[in-house]
């Protein structure tokens, strides 16, 4: 099985994710083209600006190939803007914003407020207490049947999974703690059939 993890590197915090994966000995490659996508067995979609990434997914010819790979069961992990790209419903996004609709959740863009409201706080999660960093973060406002809540803060979901798709509204790559990344790697190693 191909265990090479790709980090979508169109825009955003892709370097921090690669560094985090390297800290647990997982090799990753930056993905900017369909050819690079072909070489990976799993994909991480970082935080950044979801509208910028949507544009670049189209202009780089990556949108359809990624959608096909996700449909084929490729494990994928989206953080913050990456989670928005994976959600089945985007609230307060741009009207032309497309998503992969890979996980049955509704997310509201920037629902935690502007940068002045960005915060760090402890998350109760299945990997244990985790120090979460929330930057102009989106909110998961609805969780569909079949979506597992793996982490929450004040009873609000912030880390969710459906099949091979993992999504977080926070930034595990900024906490010097690779447990959430390790969890994603374990999904990749025990990939579910779809």
């Amino acid at each position: 099985m191909n265990m090479l993890v790709g980090v979508l590197a169109l825009q955003g915090a892709f370097v921090a994710h690669s560094d985090c994966l390297a800290s647990i000995g997982v090799q990753s490659v930056e993905v900017r083209t369909p050819e690079q996508l072909d070489s990976v067995g799993a994909l991480l979609m970082p935080g950044g600006e979801s509208s910028t990434m949507s544009q670049l997914l189209e202009s780089s010819g990556l949108f359809d190939p990624i959608a096909a790979r996700i449909a084929d069961g490729m494990p994928v992990f989206g953080t913050c803007a990456g989670m928005i790209l994976l959600a089945s419903e985007i609230l307060d996004g741009r009207s032309d914003q497309r998503s992969f609709a890979a996980i049955d959740i509704s997310v509201r863009r920037n629902a935690f407020g502007r940068q002045v409201d960005s915060f760090e706080a402890t998350i109760n999660s299945s990997v244990g207490d985790f120090h979460g960093v929330f930057i102009r973060a989106p909110r998961i406002e609805r969780v569909g049947d079949g979506v597992e809540v793996l982490g929450s803060i004040n009873d609000e979901p912030v880390l969710v999974r459906q099949g091979n798709v993992l999504a977080a509204s926070f930034h595990p790559e900024l906490s010097n703690d690779a447990r959430v990344h390790e969890y994603f790697v374990s999904i990749t190693a025990n990939r579910k059939k779809v």
């Binding site: 590197a9 169109l10 825009q11 955003g12 915090a13 892709f14 370097v15 921090a16 900017r32 083209t33 935080g47 950044g48 600006e49 509208s51 910028t52 544009q55 670049l56 202009s59 780089s60 913050c80 803007a81 307060d92 996004g93 741009r94 863009r109 920037n110 502007r114 940068q115 002045v116 409201d117 960005s118 915060f119 760090e120 706080a121 402890t122 960093v133 929330f134 930057i135 102009r136 930034h171 900024l174």
Partner: protein, 300 residues
């Protein structure tokens, strides 16, 4: 300023630098009204810088350049989803307080505006929102970081459409970082003295081989090739000031610069996006600007 409520904290260095991380690999565009802000967002900008006049016009008009009218900043905030930045004068902490109360996402303590203090920069730890500051060399960058800046950009020579100064600043900052990683522990004391920077920050660079905060490029970037040059030199994002909205055809140029910044090592993509963009801003050669008119020499 760090505030804590239960287990939750705002205004921490991690949260401030975190937003800078999110802007990497992107293009931050200067805009003067909500129409331009929408064009920028449509083109894929990862943030906009709201200001009353782009640097080229500040340069042409002369006089004192100040913080923008809050009304204009609010209108731009209402028109886009992406982060909105705004500029305060060097040392003008009250302008910064006003910008923070407006909820701007990042403050640029900028040499493009007329400095308000000839000795002191703003104490950026006093604020909840992050600051970006310009630097011409590593010493200046580290002094700004020691004051709490969450992001450093080259100064370049804003409003000229000429990136020679930005290249000089990037090469100076990144070149000195490379040299410091080769220095032995005794030499680091000399480096700190020469750079007029805190020793602890110099030692940290020797260990990690990189600046404590992200490094972006600014000043004179006008074409997709300019953006890619800055990225290949080691910048992590580009600011484009006058280069977009002082060109013939802003929307396609903005989109082309966004693509060039993402695919900065792919010459075939750069060739494709550079085609048929029309005339770039005319620009000014450095020897046409005398020393006293140079923005980059502002800041201490």
């Amino acid at each position: 300023m760090v505030s804590t409520n239960g287990s939750s904290s705002t205004g921490t260095q991690r949260v401030k630098r975190g937003l800078a991380e999110m802007l990497k690999g992107g293009v931050i565009m200067d805009v003067v009204n909500s129409d331009q802000a929408k064009i920028a967002e449509d083109a894929g900008a990862c943030a906009v810088m709201a200001l009353e006049r782009v640097p080229a016009d500040i340069r042409r008009d002369g006089g004192v350049a100040r913080m923008s009218d809050p009304e204009m900043i609010i209108a731009i905030q209402a028109s886009v989803h992406i982060p909105v930045m705004a500029k305060a004068r060097i040392g003008h902490f009250v302008e910064a307080q006003i910008l923070q109360s407006l909820g701007v996402d990042f403050i640029d303590e900028s040499e493009v505006l007329t400095p308000a203090d000839e000795t002191h920069h703003i104490d950026k730890f006093d604020f909840t929102i992050p600051f970006v500051c310009g630097a011409t060399n590593l010493g200046e960058a580290l002094r700004r970081i020691s004051e709490g800046a969450a992001l450093i950009r080259s100064k370049g020579e804003a409003g000229t459409g000429n990136m020679v100064e930005a290249v000089r600043h990037l090469r100076s900052i990144l070149g000195d970082i490379r040299k410091i990683t080769q220095a032995d522990s005794a030499e680091l004391f000399e480096w700190a003295k020469r750079l007029q920077a805190p020793l602890s920050l110099v030692q940290e660079i020797a260990e990690t081989g990189k600046l404590q905060v992200p490094l972006f490029a600014a000043g004179g970037i006008a074409t997709p090739a300019d953006a890619a040059l800055a990225m290949q030199l080691g910048a992590e994002t580009v600011f484009v000031g006058s280069g977009i909205f002082k060109s013939d055809n802003p929307a396609p140029r903005a989109k082309a610069i966004v693509e060039a910044t993402t695919h900065f090592r792919d010459a075939a993509v750069l060739a494709r996006v550079s085609r048929g963009l029309g005339v770039a801003m005319t620009g000014i050669a450095m020897d046409e600007i005398n020393e006293t008119q140079r923005f980059a020499s502002r800041g201490w």
